[in-house]
């Protein structure tokens, strides 16, 4: 069989290398590669045969699976194993979309364009790797590999406190990864898995004692949770987002946060069912705290980007809640939400970036009535905000609706918390729009131009997907439900 996934990886790898070398022409190389990547992903989606089905004790099947020996030491059996199911495919699609959008958005990057585009693509490459890896080491490798380009993206192209933010981001998330790594290693060695492959870990992990499973699950959860990020381990995120360049924020919010959710689903929930079950109360508590905290705090923010960053925390809290429910409906909601949040938060961060370089500030109170001077930008702010607060017909709604439905299904009246928070979420977006877009013009420099074509093109791309999947969510849902979540909880 043709090694399709490796080919996709290789495309990105070669493209990235060429981008680094291309210097001034990097953007063309980057765009070509990104489009090729998108096309390949489209082919992957189209050719996805669906999940072979579920019955008790059966190891989930993956499409396009490849496996080659990598490190074989007897006690340490590591393979290069990749494969996809519906969950990964949706997130890979997100990766491809965001990569194209980011490349287009930063079309006019003048500071070291080769390095910029190369690092952007490297980040996406890492995320793609995480989504297709079916081996613990490979997974962890890509997981960590994402940090490095992001570190440079924030640190070199970022805002005034970028150095602090870059180091904080790197160290903070690295600490979490390390706890996760201990968990993963313990998972392999305590369960007696024969190799680091998902299949082997999956088969062995559920055989562990409940206590062990719980410990392992919590270790993994901490690792994945910081990426989410869960309150109170979230403080790297506002700093990183605020200081990151727009493209960096887009990838950070759009993709990096999703790694946590994906990891939790793939490597913790499925593999350690009884540990998951035991930990559910903790997960619920943290999810609720995260939802409430993210929303409440974002209401108090003056910086547009920081506000969006906290709203990301809020949304990822809902993702966590949906995962914690442990029902197939919940998992569906979680994946949908991740996709939706990826697109919408990317849009919002682009908007924040554009506001910043159009008006020289992102401080909401010092701006006002920007609609007449930059109508396109204002429209994008509106679309993004409305999508983010869960307006029907836009992409977040089906996801949030499914999540709330699942929450009611699993927790009944506890759904009041996320539901109530929806009002607060709406509150800060609407308030922001009132203060920034409407009212008499304030803080508008002379000679302001509306968005350049590449920025509006990138945003329009995202808006198209926002509306497309908002109206036709079954395009995604069909993919997701033809993966193992359909059978969850199974055994």
């Amino acid at each position: 069989m043709f090694p399709l996934l490796s080919a996709v990886l290789a495309t990105l790898l070669v493209g990235t290398a060429l981008t680094f070398l291309a210097g001034k022409n990097a953007r063309w190389v980057a765009l070509a590669t990104s489009l090729a990547f998108l096309a390949e992903v489209a082919y992957l989606l189209a050719s996805y045969p669906g999940w072979p089905g579920y019955s008790a004790g059966l190891i989930p099947g993956f499409a396009d699976q490849e496996s080659y020996a990598w490190i074989h030491l007897g006690w340490l059996q590591v393979n290069y194993t990749v494969g996809v199911d519906g969950i990964s495919l949706v997130l890979i699609l997100l990766t491809a979309i965001l990569q194209v959008a980011t490349v287009i958005y930063s079309w006019n990057e003048t500071r070291r364009p080769g390095a910029w585009f190369g690092l952007v693509m490297l980040t996406c490459l890492g995320c793609l790797g995480v989504f297709i890896a079916l081996d613990i080491l490979l997974f962890f490798l890509f997981w960590e590999a994402v940090l490095v380009p992001m570190f440079f993206l924030i640190g070199y192209w970022g805002g005034p406190r970028r150095r602090y933010a870059a180091v904080k981001f790197f160290v903070y998330t690295h600490v979490a990864s390390i706890v996760m790594l201990v968990g993963l290693l313990a998972l392999v060695f305590y369960s007696g898995a024969t190799s680091f492959d998902f299949a082997s870990v999956y088969a062995a992990g559920r055989g562990l004692m409940t206590v062990t499973q719980t410990f392992l699950f919590l270790a993994l959860f901490f690792g994945f949770g910081v990426k989410f990020p869960i309150v109170p381990f979230h403080t790297w995120l506002p700093d990183a987002h605020v200081e990151a360049p727009t493209g960096g924020s887009v990838l950070l919010a759009g993709l990096l946060l999703k790694l946590g959710g994906y990891g939790l689903i793939r490597w913790a929930v499925f593999v350690l069912p009884s540990g998951f079950h035991e930990s559910q109360p903790i997960l619920f508590t943290i999810a609720f705290v995260t939802i409430v905290w993210g929303s409440i705090v974002s209401l108090a923010q003056r910086d547009l980007k920081r506000m969006v960053a906290f709203s990301s925390i809020n949304h990822m809290g809902i993702v966590l809640l949906a995962i914690a429910l442990g029902s197939s409906l919940g998992l569906l909601a979680a994946v949908l939400l991740m996709f939706a949040h990826g697109i919408v938060s990317a849009l919002l961060f682009m908007v924040s970036g554009s506001v910043h370089h159009t008006y020289g500030t992102r401080d909401i109170p010092s701006l006002g009535g920007i609609t007449p001077s930059t109508p396109v930008l204002a429209t994008m702010v509106m679309v993004g905000s409305l999508a983010s607060l869960g307006l029907p017909w836009l992409i977040s709604f089906p996801a949030e609706f499914t999540a709330l439905l699942a929450t009611w299904d699993g927790l009944a009246y506890w759904v009041l918390i996320p539901l109530g928070i929806l009002v607060v979420t709406a509150g800060f977006y609407i308030w922001m729009m009132q203060r920034m877009l409407f009212g008499p013009p304030r803080g508008i420099p002379v000679g302001v131009h509306d968005l350049p074509w590449y920025e509006s093109a990138a945003m329009s791309l995202l808006v198209v997907f926002t509306i497309l999947f908002g109206i036709l969510p079954f395009l995604l849902v069909n993919l997701i439900v033809s993966s193992p979540i359909r059978g969850f909880p199974g055994t």
Binding site: K168, V297, L404, L419, L422, M433, F438, G439
Partner: protein, 646 residues
């Protein structure tokens, strides 16, 4: 679905310069279709489900949804929706037409027509939804359109603020509504034909009968809660107490918008929601009481605020709240179709009032009643139209309002026996009749009577162009005649809808004559008092010593509810969030940075040991040696003896 497509197409085309006319044309087409459908429905009562398609499908799995979950989008045309459709398309068309004249000097017209067309499309979609979820989708969409249209003059801070307020308050209602949907959804998930409601996608009907067992009179707590939540949603949209605060402020939008959205159609969606819920699902007895209470109370409550307000549009807005209260009251009493009938008539006369007020505002450029005066002469059409609307509103026969309002009072009266607590709310609603008549004619007298404007700086008033006048005339005609539709048998058949299934008796036209008499008398009394105080350009000033001053202040300040909400919103929630932000920055992140600080301090302390004197280094080596001895000879054996090795 055709309407949605028409509307959307209109939206796109309306971006052009002559977009207004395009929008009008499309809405005219929609109106024709709407009328055709309504007529069709009248001629052959009954409902039919048009094509529906699956929007989101989850296969069955063990658990609460053995048959899976399916969310569909489809259309349902039944008498209920036909009636509503008629209102939406007719008023919509007229308002759009009116807009051509009214809005001609505003900038941002393409946006205006686009949003208005989108609104109409969404409203049509809402009316034609065949399931609760689809209903909710459009419900939110109209909310957003309303948000944008209220904030149409976004440069005005007050408009932006009002838009925000409207969105947030209705959002509260939406959230309650959504929760209500969930409860119904799970309650009925697996009951019903074809694998239950979940598997069928929340649809209302299955063929010719309501899909769900009617729960009216049932006592299930869960269903009661669900009903209350639906009521909450409706209260948000229909501006019922305590979520009414946004509607008066929504008058910051163009008057046309107020007429269409905040009087005739969108705000009525809440009532419509209650109606479809009561028809297809049914409320429990406690729910009904709550609905009656909210409706009855709001009716009176809003009317009191309208009594003193100086702003012409806000007076009408309060009146809208009050009238919506009547409709809610009717639904609560078990007469959904009566409520809808009032909705039908109210749409016309309230739109008429708004458009007439708009005409006034267009002419004089202010909304302050106390600055106007004497407009009767230059604006004859408007004055007559406003008067017709006022009479209709006051429930003076034979204007439309009389028939529908009378029906409501009669219907509620007939149900008074079912619960003692119905009485006070019935009385409140009854009292509101008087207030209604008083305040609307206070407005009429202030604006139109007298010889000249009280504020001399106002421009010379003149009537608007024909595009503005025609809708006024047409609506006047409706305001006069719509009530008489009730005597058309075919129209009756629309209102009789569901009588068999839900047990609603046909009460219209058979209401107690005495009741009607008292109500008309109250209305007339209100007009009389109004004339006494304000007629012929008089201005009534409350005596200095009157104890009513405090009441007036209370009313002018809207019972301090907005202040209270602002306090909750700004002081409480924002305060909490500021506090949380502080915690986040200084406690949570402070811990992180504190950890860094701890390590730095440790590092500095340790570095001090690196003195550069080699003798010190040697001392460390010896100390280390001794430390190793201690570990080897004392600590390790002790620990191992305690814990075991390995």
């Amino acid at each position: 679905m055709a309407f949605a497509i028409v509307g959307l197409a209109g939206t796109r085309l309306a971006k052009l310069e002559w977009g207004g006319w395009v929008a009008v044309a499309f809405s005219a087409a929609a109106m024709v279709l709407g009328v055709l459908i309504a007529v069709g429905e009248m001629l052959s009562p009954g409902q039919y489900v048009n094509a529906q398609f699956t929007w989101l499908q989850l296969a069955g799995a063990p658990g609460p949804f053995p048959n899976g979950i399916s969310l569909v989008v489809g259309t349902l045309v039944d008498p209920l929706s036909a009636l509503m459709l008629l209102v939406v398309t007719v008023v919509g068309f007229l308002v759009l037409l009116y807009s051509i004249g009214y809005m001609h000097q505003d900038h941002g017209l393409p946006r205006y027509y686009a949003e208005l067309s989108l609104f109409l499309a969404a409203m049509t979609g809402l009316v034609l939804s065949n399931n609760l979820l689809e209903f909710f989708l459009f419900w939110e969409l109209v909310g957003v359109c309303s948000y944008f249209l209220i904030g149409f003059y976004y440069e005005k801070p007050s408009a932006a603020s009002a838009a925000k307020e409207a969105f947030l308050v209705t959002r509260v209602g939406d959230v309650l509504f959504l929760l209500g949907i969930f409860i119904y959804f799970f309650h009925f998930a697996t009951t019903g034909p074809n694998g239950g409601w979940a598997a069928n996608g929340f649809v209302f009907t299955n063929g010719s009968t309501p899909f769900l067992p009617v729960a009216s009179g049932g006592s299930s707590t869960l269903l009661t809660i669900a009903g209350l939540l639906i009521l909450g949603g409706a209260a948000g949209k229909s501006a019922q107490f305590p979520l009414h605060v946004w509607l008066p402020d929504a008058m910051e939008g163009p008057t046309t918008v107020s007429a269409l959205i905040h009087a005739a159609t969108m705000v009525a969606a809440g009532v419509y929601l209650l109606a479809i819920t009561s028809v297809f699902i049914g409320f429990t007895a406690n729910d009904q009481l709550a609905i009656v209470a909210i409706g009855g109370f709001t009716t009176f409550f809003a009317a009191t605020m309208a009594v003193v307000h100086p702003d012409i549009k806000r007076v009408i807005a309060y009146s809208t709240i009050s009238q919506l209260g009547y409709m809610v009251l009717a639904v609560g009493a078990g007469f959904a179709m009566v409520g809808l009938f009032h909705l039908f008539t109210h749409a016309f006369f309230k739109a008429l009032l708004f458009l007439a007020a708009g005409s006034v505002i267009h002419a004089v450029g202010t909304q302050d009643l106390f600055k106007m005066g004497g407009l009767r002469k230059p604006m004859r059409v408007t004055a007559i139209a406003f008067a017709i609307g006022g009479l209709s509103l006051s429930g003076i026969p034979p204007f439309a309002g009389f028939w529908s309002k009378d029906d409501i009072l009669g219907a509620v009266y007939s149900q008074l026996g079912s619960h003692p607590l119905y009485w006070p709310f019935f009385l409140l609603a009854f009292a509101a009749v008087f207030l209604t008549a008083y305040y609307i004619f206070r407005a009429w007298f202030l604006a139109f009577s007298g010889d000249r404007a009280r504020d001399p700086s106002l421009p010379h008033a003149h009537e608007g162009p024909w595009t503005m006048r025609v809708p006024l005339v047409v609506l006047s005609a409706f305001a006069v005649a719509a009530g008489l539709f009730i005597f058309l048998p075919n129209f009756q058949s629309l209102l009789l809808y569901g009588a068999g299934a839900s047990g609603i008796p046909p009460v219209y036209g058979t209401s107690d004559l005495l009741l009607s008499g008292v109500s008309v008398g109250l209305g007339a009394g209100g007009i009389g008092l109004s004339y006494y105080l304000w007629g012929n350009g008089r201005v009534f000033v409350l005596p200095e010593a009157s104890p009513l001053h405090s009441v007036r202040r209370l009313l002018l300040n809207r019972y301090y509810m907005k202040v209270g909400y602002d306090w909750i919103g700004l002081r409480l929630v924002y305060g909490i969030s500021r506090g949380a932000d502080f915690l986040d920055r200084y406690v949570i992140d402070g811990t992180v940075r504190g950890l860094e600080q701890v390590f730095s301090t440790l590092s500095n302390q340790l570095r001090r040991a690196q003195s550069g004197v080699v003798s010190d280094y040697a001392a460390y080596v010896i100390a280390g040696l001794l430390g190793v001895f201690v570990l080897l000879l004392i600590v390790a054996p002790y620990l191992l003896a305690k814990l075991g090795g390995g």
